[in-house]
Symmetry: C2
Subunit: 420 residues, 2 copies
Amino acid sequence: MSSSKASEGDTVRLKAGGKEHTGVLMPHHEFSHPDVIVIKLKSGYNIGIKVDERSELIVTMRSQQRVSKPRGQETGGNLPSLSFLGTGGTIASYVDYRTGAVHPALKAEELVATVPELSEICHMRSKVVFSIFSENMNVQNWRSLAEAVAEELNEGAEGVIIPHGTDTLGFTSAAMSFMLGDIPRPVVLVGAQRSSDRPSSDSYGNLLSAARFCVQADAAEVFVLMHGETSDTCANVHRGTKVRKLHTSRRDAFQSVNAIPVARMDLQGGMEILSPYRKKTTGKVQADTRMESNVGLLHFYPGMNPDIVRKMSQDLKGLVMAGTGLGHVSKEMVSVLKEMVAQGKPVVMTSQCLNGRVNLNVYDTGRDLLSAGVIPGEDMLPETALVKLMWVLGRTDRPDEVERLMLQDMRGEISERREL
Amino acid sequence: MSSSKASEGDTVRLKAGGKEHTGVLMPHHEFSHPDVIVIKLKSGYNIGIKVDERSELIVTMRSQQRVSKPRGQETGGNLPSLSFLGTGGTIASYVDYRTGAVHPALKAEELVATVPELSEICHMRSKVVFSIFSENMNVQNWRSLAEAVAEELNEGAEGVIIPHGTDTLGFTSAAMSFMLGDIPRPVVLVGAQRSSDRPSSDSYGNLLSAARFCVQADAAEVFVLMHGETSDTCANVHRGTKVRKLHTSRRDAFQSVNAIPVARMDLQGGMEILSPYRKKTTGKVQADTRMESNVGLLHFYPGMNPDIVRKMSQDLKGLVMAGTGLGHVSKEMVSVLKEMVAQGKPVVMTSQCLNGRVNLNVYDTGRDLLSAGVIPGEDMLPETALVKLMWVLGRTDRPDEVERLMLQDMRGEISERREL
C-alpha cells in the first residue's frame, strides 16, 4: 500500500479490494494484523479492511490534535473545556486478536483521539490518573481520583469525564459522589462493555454522549453514562449513587435501581431530561477523602454461620448486610449483629433484592433488628451503603451521628419514601 | 348482627350499610376488629365491611371441608390429588391491624380453605412440615422438607404445593431441585408478598394457579410460582434453580434470571407454556439430602480485605464468590482463592451482575482465576451455585469430581451457551 502518512484519528478514505470506505483511522497495536487497517465508520462501528500494495489511503481531514494541550492554550474561541481523567478499563483497552484477550493499552489521549467529533464540542484536556482494571480499584485510588477531579474543576473545567472499567464503576461513582460533595459542574464516569477496537464498541458513543451531556445539561452531580439499549440508539445518564452493573456482557448492563435515569442522550446529539438534578453553580471544590476502609459487606443466605461472621467482625469497624426481602437475617445472625452494635460497630441493613426499600417494621425479625440497633438502609443499593458507611466512618464513630448521617439523603442515594 | 353460623371459607352474601357483597368469608383473628368482616371477592381482592346489629350474613355455599382428610378418603371421583406442605411465611400469615405487624397464624388447612375453588380442581391433603419465617430456614429444614415431598409423591400425589416465605424461597427451590432429583410429578413452591387477609393479597391467586399448573401441565420439576405483573392478570412459573426475589415488596418480585419463565398462568385458568420442561413420569422418589453446610457465599467489593477472607476460609469447606462483571476479584483476592483451592477447598465464581454469564477467558484477572483452579459458575445465580456446591460437597470432596459436577447442568441451573 502506498505510504500515506496518515495518523491515528485522521479522517481517511481507503480504497481496497475494489471498494471505498470513509472513516476515522483507528490505532494500530502490537497485535493487530499487519495487513488490516481498522476504520471507524460514521455509524460508530469499526470495520477491519484487508489491504495490499494496490490499496490507497487518502487523508481527508487531519485529527485536530487538540488533546493534551495545557489549559489556556486551546484555540477555537467559545468551546467549553472538558477534562478526561483516565483510570483504565475496557474503555481504554484493545483486543489481542491472536488470543481474544483484552489488554489495557490506550492512553486517555489516544482514546479521545478516536472520537474526532469531540473537538467540535469542547476543548479537551486529558490526564491519566492511573491505569488499572477496575476490580483492582481500592480506597486509595478513589482518593487520588477525587483529588484529581477537584483539581480539574477548580482550574475551570466545565465538566470532568472519567473513563473507567465497568466492573466497579458503580462503587467509584458512589465514592466520588460522597467525596466530592456539592460540585459546581458535572463529573461523568463512562465505561465500555466492548473495547474500542471492536465493531460493536460502545466506547465511542459513550464518550461522545458524556461530553455532550456535560456541555448541554445544566447539571452538577456525579453521574454514570452508559449505553442505554441493546440497539445503538441512546445512552442513559444515571445518578452516581443509584446505578449498578446488572449484566456481565451486554452494553446496556448499567441500570438505575430504585430511581429512573437522569437523562437520555440519543446518539445524534439530542438530550431528554428524565428526572430532576442539581444545577451548575460557581465555587471551588474541596474533596473530602477521609474514609474508613475496614467496612464489610455481607449477603445473608440460609445457613450462614454466625460464628464465622462473629469472628470476622472483630477485624471490622462497620458492616453492611444485604439481607433477604425487606431486610432480614436469621435469628442467630440477629444476635451477632446486636453484639457488633453493642461494641460500637454500626450495622446497616440493605436488601439483596436490590429493588425496593427495606422495612424493619413489618415482621418480628425486622423489629428485632431495630431493637438491636441495626440502621435501616432505606432504598440504598448495598454497594452504595457500603461506600457511604466507609465515608461516614471516616469522619465520626459516634453511633448516633453515624445513624443520623446514614439515614440522611446526601447525594440522591436515598429516594423519598412514597406513602402507599 | 344476626347469628349466621357461617364458617371461614363459606361463600356468603353480606348485607350491611345498605349494600350487598358476595364472596368468601375470611378467617377472623385475635387482632381483627370485632365489628369488621373480611370477605374475599371473586376478583381475589379482600374487603373489610363494618357490620352492626342490622347487618345480615347469609351462607350461600358451605366450604367443602375437603381439606386434611387422609389420602384415600377423598370423594368426588376423578379429581387428581394434590398435597400442600406448609412451611410458614407471609402466605400463611395475617396482619395484626393494631400494630400493622405480620404474624404467622394460618395452618395449611386454613390457608387452603380460603381458596374454595381448589376443591373443584383437586383433592387436597395438607400437612404442616414446620412453620417459620423463611429467613430462619436452614439446611436441616431443607432435609425435612425434601423427605416430606418425597413421601407425598411416593404416596401418589399428582403434585406437591409448598407455601413458603418469600425471603429465601429461591434458595429452598434450588435445594429441592438438587435433593429431589428426577421427580415423577411437579413440586411447586408458592409464596405471597402480601398476607392473605390484605385486600391485595397474592396468596389466593398464587395457590389457585399452582394447583391448576400441577393438574394442567405435563411437567415434573421443582418450580416457583409467583404473581407475574403489578396488575392482577397472571402468575409466572419459574424453574426452581433460575429464580430470584428481585423486589422487597412488589407482588411480581420473583423473576427468572438468565432464563424465561416456564409457563404463565392467567388468573382465569388459562395456561401458556413459555419454555420446555421435563415431562411427568412414573416411579418413586428417593430424596438425596446429603449436604455440606459449611460453604460460604461472598460478594466481592473494592477494598475487600484479603486477610479477613483468608481467616474466614479456615472454617469453610468451599466458597462461592459473586465477583464483579464477568467474574472478577482483586489481585490480592485471587491469591486467597488460589490458597483455598490448593487446600482442596473448591471455589466457584459467579457474578454479582446476576444477569449474563461469567467468562474467565476475556481478561487477565479471569485467566489468573482459572490458573488458580477457580471453577467458572457459567450463568448460575450465586444463590443457586451456593446450594449446588453444598449439595455436591455432600457427596464428594474430590476436586476433579466437584468441578465436573459444578460444570454439569443438572436441574436447569446452567443455560446452554449461545455462540454469538
